[in-house]
C-alpha cells in the first residue's frame, strides 16, 4: 500500500476526533498535522516511547510531526499516529540546561514596549518560567523553546538582520531561542549567552534537543541572586 493509499483509506483519513490529519509527503514521508502546539507535544511524547516500525526518523515542527519512512506507513501505524497521546510533563528522560544570559539585546526595549512591559519586567518574565524545547530547526542546535508562563507573543522584526552573533537570545511568536552560530535572523534580540550551544567536537553536539528543559538566569547577578534554578534545575516530573 502506498503512502497515498493509506491517506485515502477511510480508517486513516481522520484522527477520530483528535483533530489530527495525515498529509502526503511523497514516497519518503508523511506529515502528521496536530490540533495545536500542545497536541504536537503530546504526540511527540507518545512516539518517543513507541515509534511505529515503518518510521526511521521524527522531525517535529510547531504544529506537525514529519515522519521519515523506511517503507509505507501501514493502516495500524497510521491509526497510532492519529491517536497516540502522552503527557509531555511526565517524560522523565529529558535533560535540563541552565543558560546564563546577559540581558542587553538590541531589541530588549522594543520587545518590552510591544508587550507593554518595562525591560526589567520582560527579563523577569523570561527568567521566571521553565522553557521546553518544542522542536529544533533553522540551524543545527537551534531549539524552539516554549515557556510554561504567560509571556504574550512578540512578532518577528519587520526586517530580519543579516547578521546575528552566536549566543544571541531572542523572542518570536510563542518561542524563545538561542542562535547557536552567527547567521541571519528576524527574532527580537533580548540578550546573549557565553554558553556554546552547538559543537560537533562535543558529545552530544547539541545542548538542546526536543524535550530539553531550559532555565534562563541573569548572568549579571551572582549565583545567589540567580536563584536556586541555576544550581538545581527543576526535576523532570512535576
Amino acid at each position: 500500500m502506498s503512502n497515498n493509499e493509506v491517506l485515502n483509506s477511510e480508517m486513516a483519513g481522520t484522527g477520530g476526533g483528535t483533530g489530527r490529519r495525515l498529509l502526503p509527503y511523497g514516497d519518503q514521508g508523511v506529515l502528521v498535522e496536530c490540533a495545536d502546539l500542545q497536541d504536537t507535544q503530546r504526540l511527540l511524547a507518545a512516539l518517543t516511547h513507541s515509534v511505529p516500525p515503518e518510521v526511521s526518523e521524527l522531525v517535529p515542527g510547531a504544529r506537525t510531526v514529519l515522519l521519515i519512512l523506511d517503507r509505507p506507513l501501514g493502516p495500524a501505524s497510521a491509526k497510532t499516529v492519529l491517536t497516540a497521546s502522552a503527557d509531555p510533563e511526565r517524560r522523565t528522560d529529558h535533560a535540563s540546561v541552565t543558560i546564563p544570559v546577559h540581558y542587553d539585546g538590541d531589541d530588549l526595549d522594543d520587545a518590552a514596549g510591544i508587550l507593554g512591559l518595562s525591560p526589567d519586567q520582560l527579563v523577569a518574565a523570561h527568567i521566571g518560567q521553565l522553557w521546553t524545547v518544542a522542536f529544533c530547526g533553522f540551524a543545527p542546535g537551534f531549539g524552539y523553546l516554549l515557556g510554561d508562563g504567560a509571556l504574550p507573543e512578540v512578532p518577528r522584526r519587520s526586517s530580519p538582520r543579516t547578521r546575528v552573533p552566536a549566543g544571541t537570545v531572542g523572542l518570536a511568536g510563542p518561542f524563545s531561542g538561542v542562535y547557536p552560530r552567527e547567521g541571519p535572523g528576524g527574532w527580537q534580540l533580548i540578550g546573549r549567552t557565553d554558553l556554546v550551544l552547538w559543537d560537533t567536537d562535543r558529545e552530544p553536539p547539541a545542548l538542546l534537543s526536543p524535550g530539553t528543559r531550559v532555565q534562563f538566569v541573569d548572568a549579571e547577578k551572582g549565583p545567589s541572586d540567580a536563584g536556586e534554578a541555576a544550581a538545581e534545575p527543576r526535576p523532570g516530573p512535576r
Partner: protein, 288 residues
C-alpha cells in the same frame, strides 16, 4: 592516498549523509545524486555508502600514490588517464602516479569519482559528507590536498559498462502536504509550465523561474519539517526544490514533492536548464 591536482569549480566529499539527526536541526545531506554515488561504489566493490568526490561541471584532476581502481559516474563525461581518453560509468585501473582528469560533461551537472576502498576522512556526526548549509563535514577540496583511502578486500565488479540514468527534464511529483493552500490554477500551472533553473541554485535548493504560483490560503505557516525533493513556494510565488542540504524545517507551504528518483535527476539540472513536472509514473532503468 590520492592527491587533488585540481579541484575544478567545486569538489566536495560526499557519502550517503547523516540520517537520524533531523531532531537536532541537522539535515541528512550526502550525495545529491545518490544513484550515481551508489553505482560508482558498487562498480569498485565498495559499500554503497562509501565516501567519494562530488564535482560540479568537471575540471577535477587527481593522482594516486599506489595502483588502484576507480569509477566515475553521474553526468556522463570524458575521462582522461594521463593523456589517454577513457569513459565514465566503467571501472578504471590506475597505476601508481597516474593522473585522472574529469572533463566537463556535455550535459548534466554533477560527476562522482569513487576510489576502491572509499575516501578516509574523519566523519562528523557519523558521515563524511559536506553539508554546505549547516557547515558540517570536511571543507571543499583544494589544490594539492592529500586524501587517505581505505583498504578493501571485496572484489571489483566485472562490469564493462554500467548505465547512467537517462537524462530527464520531466520530473515526477506527487501532491505535497500543503497542496490545498494553493489554487487549482496554481497546481495546474505547476504541471503545465516549463521552469527554468536559475543561477542561484545549489545543494540547498534548485530555484526555479516561471509563472507565479498563487496561494488560496495566505496564513503564515508555522515551521514544519522538510525533505529533499520538497517543492516549497515562498512569498515570491517562484518554487524552490530542496536538495540534500535543505534546512530541516521551513515556514512556507510545500505544494508538491519529487519522488526519490526524481531527486537524483534534479541533482543533474544546470542553471538555464528547463524542467517540467508530471504526476505520471516514469519508467526507470533500474531494479529498485
Amino acid at each position: 592516498m590520492i592527491t587533488v591536482v585540481n579541484p575544478g569549480p567545486l569538489s566536495l566529499i560526499q557519502d550517503l549523509g547523516r540520517p537520524h539527526q533531523s531532531h537536532l536541526g541537522v539535515p541528512r545531506s550526502g550525495a545529491a545524486d545518490r544513484y550515481a554515488l551508489t553505482l560508482a561504489n558498487r562498480l569498485v566493490g565498495n559499500r554503497e555508502d562509501a565516501a567519494g568526490i562530488e564535482t560540479v561541471l568537471g575540471g577535477l584532476q587527481v593522482s594516486t600514490d599506489t595502483a588502484t581502481w576507480v569509477a566515475v559516474t553521474g553526468a556522463p563525461t570524458e575521462i582522461w588517464v594521463n593523456d589517454i581518453p577513457t569513459a565514465s560509468h566503467t571501472v578504471i585501473h590506475l597505476a601508481a602516479a597516474d593522473r585522472l582528469t574529469v572533463r566537463t560533461p556535455p550535459a548534466g551537472l554533477r560527476t562522482y569519482l569513487v576510489v576502491r576502498g572509499g575516501l578516509d576522512v574523519e566523519p562528523v556526526l557519523g558521515s563524511r559528507s559536506t553539508d554546505t548549509l549547516s557547515r558540517i563535514g570536511p571543507p571543499a577540496l583544494v589544490k594539492g590536498q592529500r586524501i587517505g583511502v581505505k583498504e578493501s578486500d571485496r572484489p571489483v565488479s566485472g562490469v564493462e559498462f554500467a548505465p547512467s540514468l537517462p537524462p530527464r527534464t520531466r520530473l515526477q511529483v506527487s501532491p505535497g502536504p500543503r497542496r490545498d493552500w494553493f489554487t487549482d490554477s496554481a497546481w495546474q500551472a505547476l504541471l503545465a509550465s516549463t521552469w527554468t533553473v536559475t543561477s542561484d541554485s545549489d545543494r540547498v535548493a534548485l530555484r526555479l523561474n516561471g509563472p507565479s504560483l498563487e496561494r488560496r490560503i495566505t496564513d503564515e505557516l508555522p515551521s514544519e519539517g522538510l525533505l529533499r525533493g520538497a517543492i516549497q513556494v515562498p512569498a515570491s510565488g517562484q518554487p524552490i526544490v530542496f536538495g540534500p542540504d535543505h534546512p530541516v524545517t521551513g515556514g512556507y507551504p510545500v505544494i508538491a514533492v519529487l519522488t526519490e528518483r526524481a531527486c537524483d535527476h534534479a541533482a543533474q539540472a544546470r542553471p538555464g536548464d528547463r524542467l517540467t513536472f508530471t504526476t505520471s509514473p516514469q519508467l526507470h532503468h533500474r531494479g529498485h
